[in-house]
Symmetry: C2
Amino acid sequence: MAIRALVFDVFGTVVDWRGGVAREARRLLGPSVDAAALADDWRRRYVPSMERVRSGELPWTPLDALHRSSLDDVLAAAGRPDVAPEVRDELTLAWHRLDPWPDVVPGLTRLARAHVLAPLSNGNVALIVDMAKRAGLPWDCVLGAEIVQHYKPDPEVYDAAPRLLALPPSSVLMVAAHVEDLTAARARGLRTAYVHRPDEFGGRAVPPETDPDADLSVRSFEELADRLGA
Amino acid sequence: MAIRALVFDVFGTVVDWRGGVAREARRLLGPSVDAAALADDWRRRYVPSMERVRSGELPWTPLDALHRSSLDDVLAAAGRPDVAPEVRDELTLAWHRLDPWPDVVPGLTRLARAHVLAPLSNGNVALIVDMAKRAGLPWDCVLGAEIVQHYKPDPEVYDAAPRLLALPPSSVLMVAAHVEDLTAARARGLRTAYVHRPDEFGGRAVPPETDPDADLSVRSFEELADRLGA
């Protein structure tokens, strides 16, 4: 594989959304809320909210706005209609403040020496930029949904990566912890690497250890760097 | 001024296009060519080539392709029809290999601590990414013409910066060595900082020392960092 650029799914693959959202929920809502359950419920509403954009029911809407809107439903379901609007706005920024898995910064730092690295996430640009600045993620540029106003797995998102990097799709490696993201990337000609993230869902729903259809399956970004000779 | 993000013109403002293009022309074409004159002629064809896209005469075309096409005219005018296509392709990459002015990396490094930094250039994403990796420019993301498929000074390019950074235009500072770029940014509500780059045209056409209409006029990115308290 002559890989020139790596593009990354972010939520679950690069960062621990469940732990980070729960931490911010505890900080802003206090100990009476089940913060991990709140994170799970918020995340459950993620795909359906994007589906409303993908189907055309909603015009293009950045993920921050989808998160803010679904948070109202999450808090209603959690019996917390009392939470003030400004606290809801602040809690929505939890998604900007997620911590990377421990192998991410060391792995990306090695990979950045000889490869172009970019997120290819459904997160909007401001979210991804805030997250990267806080966590020290060495992205070379920010690609993804908002740039093309389509959510994954729409083909437009995957196609934009080789187009904007001026590379053949076969020299771009999509890295994700989710098989369906890799399947969609592969359909557009990208190479694929699966990362096993057993803790994404708090250990309750453990994803498969490998993706037999991917070019590579690894357990960390450091192993990915090893495999690419970085 | 409560500035949260700085967006930068690149050619002439961040990097010395004339010196870099001449260096690559000398390397690839040998000493018989007047490398500085070649750089000047290539750059002269830059605005007219983008004008063909802005007017709708050409569909969206990334700057690399415009550069490659105008290079054929440059070499014809220079009496060098003999240059092989693969050398022309390689010479077009000169624009990916330009050196920053000496104050740029120290200034950006200070500014990056408390501000989001992004290029807002007519250069395509791959060009800007290659340049940044080679020169160590600490961009947080890459904005600019190719993202919105419009060339500056079209308003779409300026409007996309606050939109994608999720900031009010008045908290985004456009930095450029060219008054007309700042005028167009100001018309879209951005703040503006003028940088005096006396050597951009090899000292022959010296630009004004300040832009009286800009919020700030400085002589280096380090002075810009001083003025913003970075």
